[in-house]
Every structure is written in C-alpha cells, then in structure tokens.
C-alpha cells in the first residue's frame, strides 16, 4: 500500500514504482487521455492491469534484471509505447524538451 506514483508536468513522465496491478484502476483516471513521453513500468514491468493498456507513451522503460523478474516482464507494455528493458538495453536516458523526446541507451 506504500507505493509512490508520480507524474510530472508539463512533460509527462509517469513513475509507477511497484504499484500493484489491482490498483491500476485507481490511478488511470489521472493518466489517460494524455500524451506521455516516458512511463516507468510497474514493478519492473511485471505488473500490468488491463486499465494501464489505455495509456499511450512514447517510451516505456522497465527496470529489470535476472534472476527472477526478467522472465515475468509483460510484453504488452510494447502496446503502450516503445518498450525498453534495462537488462537488454542497459542504462536508459530520456531527454524531454519542448519539441520532442530524445532517448539514449548505454550497455556499459
């Protein structure tokens, strides 16, 4: 129950933290129908309630790695936006500016 969910303005970055998917309906009203630039997926990309699929974001990042959670990442996140996983892409840097979003990765 003690997860923080944060959303920035005006550039839309949504940090879902470890939010349980049963609670996704509780926050979806604040997020739907908005153009998000970056969504940090819930619980390493393993939690994805059906309501969350109503979101659209340029990119979705899952902070994930072995040994347990990497096999449980929900591929449906790709339907929300370009989905990057840190276990395959490495560090991810997203720069949000007035005219667009730039994204860089570094597997180092």
């Amino acid at each position: 129950m003690l997860w923080l969910v944060l959303s920035t303005r005006p550039q839309r970055y949504v940090f879902l933290g470890d939010l349980d998917e049963s609670l996704h309906p509780e926050i979806i009203g604040d997020l739907v129908d908005q153009d998000h630039e970056l969504l940090l997926s819930a619980h390493h990309g393993t939690h994805l309630g059906p309501d969350l699929l109503r979101l659209q974001s340029r990119c979705v990042v899952s902070s994930v790695g072995p040994p347990r959670l990497d096999r449980r990442v929900r591929p449906e996140y790709a339907s929300i936006g370009t989905h990057l996983r840190t276990d395959t892409a490495g560090d991810v840097m997203v720069w949000m500016h007035g005219t667009g979003t730039h994204l860089a990765t570094c597997d180092c």
Binding site: M1, R9, D70, D91, W95, T99, G100, C108
Partner: protein
C-alpha cells in the same frame, strides 16, 4: 562494452536507432555521427540534431539505471537534480550506476550525454524512496556503510535537501498492519531499527527534511512540477479487505512455521501479532536523526546486500500484495521472502 546509441523517438521512424557516439564538446554532431537517417523528416518536425544544444525552461532528463531487478533513477534539469530510488538487488550495483551517470556529465566522445550536463552532482537536492523495499534503497545503505568505513563526508543529499517517502494511510488498521509488517521485516532481515532514515542522515553533511507524500500533493523534483497520484491518505474498504486477507495469510504461515519448528519465522509472525496502540508508530519508519553522528552507522555493518539469499530476505514486506506474498515461496520453502 556497448556503445552509446540514440534515436529521435519523435521521428517518423523512431524504431531505427542511431549512433551519436561522436557527439562533440560543443553539442554539434561531429563527422562520423549518424542520426536516424530521416534528417529531412526530423527537421520538418523540429527534431534536428542541433537541438541537442537547445534547452527550454521545462526541459529535463530522466535516467533509468541498469541495476538488475531494482530501481535507481535520476532526474535532472537546469534547476536541479533528484534521485528517485537508489537501490538494486546488490547495493554496490546502485553505487556503480551513480558513478556511471556521474561520468557521463563530462564531454568525452562516446561517453557523454550532453543533456545530462545539468547535473552538477553526484549530489541531489531531493531524494525519493518510492517504496520501503530494499531494492529501492539498498544503494543508500551501501553508501552509508562505505562512507563510514572510509571516513568520508561527501553528501549524496545536499544539506537542506528533502527526503520524500510515501505517507502511511491514516486508517488505524492500515497503520497497525504497516507497523506489523515492518516488525516482521526487522526480525527476518536483521536490519537495524529505522535504518532508512539513519542512512539518509549518514549520507548528508547537514540537516535533511523528511516529508511524507500522499495523493494530491504537488512537489518539485529537480525543479520539475510533480503530482503525487498514490498513496491515498485513507485506504478504501476494498483495499482494507486485501489487508485483512494478508493478515489471515500470516496466520496460516504461523501455523506452518510452528509445524516446521522454524524459529525465525515463528518469531517474525509473533512480532506481527503483537498489538499496539501507538498510531504514530509508522512515522518512525522514516525518522531521520538530527545529524550524522546520531545515525548509528556502526550498526549498518551487515553486508546483506552482497548475498543473494539474504537480499531476498531483506525485502520489506510492506506493501507486498497477496499475489506477491503467495508466490514468494515462503510457505513452500520456509525461508524465502522475496519482493523484487
């Protein structure tokens, strides 16, 4: 070692990656650098390479570190920098991520993220723990221990900075459960009391302000406006029902632990059962000592973050859902409590 790759996410073919390894010191793309191959299309939509040098008031960058199944993320703008979670399955991996991102502030070909130059750090004006699980703050504990061992006085959190954390819902029942879960975690993991707040104090060379966050709060991180969407100040009946189910699950675990003679689990579950009337007890989860001398660093000496089995055990049970709990293996294996 990989190479720095980038793409114009907003371009008509943003799935194609480009290579900007040769990004120069003056933000111009030097010969040899490539973009996504859609120069004209990108320019017509305002996505030129030169715009890497342009920043408006609301521009900001987010870095998500590759730390395994943990969270270490950075936010930076020309107005400041914030650390949102600082954890990893192994605390040292979070520290390495901090070093990597710090190195990328410097203009070296192939290792420079020019829009990261805002960050003056490794020092932050705001530190957020989104969730009191070790994979969200183990780097902080590791850093506190390393600094204590080395006698260093560097600040991760700038003196006068703010430590944000999720507010415990005001429902008395919810507060009791959170406290019980914290006790459970303490017994199982052998973590020192109030270790998180003490580590915050230990990694700053001055006073830090703690602030709980709840739905509806508005704050600034790295100078960027942030809305807090969760947790709510009060849990609704549906969520409370889930909590009560969780308690019932504990009772089953207690019975199984007793049957197995698992003393550690028995003690843990007994701690959960202890009643208390102190409704402010949960605030102590994040208590920050007034200065680093009071942080009791000598007690943060257990190298728990280096051991895979223990890193499972140190996961706080706070906030773990029924699903997580049921799938953690605690009932079948008797000792694994895992949150990820």
């Amino acid at each position: 070692m990989g190479c720095l790759t980038a793409a114009y996410v907003g371009c008509p073919d943003h799935q194609r990656w480009s290579n900007l390894c040769q990004m120069g010191r003056d933000d111009k793309v030097e010969p040899g650098a490539r973009d996504c191959g859609h120069d004209q299309a990108c320019r017509s939509s305002g996505l030129t390479r030169r715009q890497l040098a342009f920043c408006s008031v609301n521009d900001f960058a987010v870095g998500v570190a590759s730390v395994g199944a943990g969270y270490t993320t950075f936010m930076a703008s020309e107005h400041g920098a914030a650390l949102v979670d600082f954890g990893a399955p192994r605390g040292r991996d979070a520290l390495r991520a901090l070093e990597r991102f710090s190195e990328r502030r410097h203009p070296r070909p192939g290792h420079w993220w020019p829009w990261w130059r805002w960050w003056p750090g490794p020092e932050f004006t705001e530190f957020v723990v989104s969730h009191p699980h070790a994979d969200h703050y183990s780097g902080l504990l590791r850093l506190a221990r390393v600094q204590s061992a080395d006698g260093r006085q560097e600040s991760l959190i700038r003196p006068g900075g703010t430590f944000f954390y999720p507010m415990v819902p005001r429902n008395p029942d919810a507060q009791r459960l959170v406290f019980f879960l914290a006790e459970l975690n303490k017994v199982i993991s052998a973590l020192p009391k109030n270790v998180l707040g003490r580590a915050v104090a230990a990694t700053s060379d001055g006073p830090i302000r703690g602030r709980p966050l709840k739905r509806g709060d508005e704050i600034e991180l790295a100078g960027i406006h942030v809305d807090v969407l969760w947790p709510p100040p009060m849990l609704d009946e549906r969520t409370m029902a889930r909590l009560r189910n969780l308690v019932r699950e504990y009772e089953q675990i207690a019975e199984e632990a007793a049957e197995r003679g698992d003393e550690r689990l028995i003690r843990a579950v007994e701690a959960v059962r202890e009643p208390t009337d102190d409704l402010h007890m949960t605030e102590r989860l994040y208590d920050i000592p007034e200065d680093r001398e009071q942080s009791g660093l000598s007690e943060i000496d257990e190298d728990f973050s280096e051991d895979g089995n223990r890193s499972d055990l140190i996961c706080s049970m706070i906030g773990v859902s029924m699903l997580d709990f049921a799938s953690s293996g605690i009932r079948s294996r008797g000792e694994r409590i895992c949150c990820g």
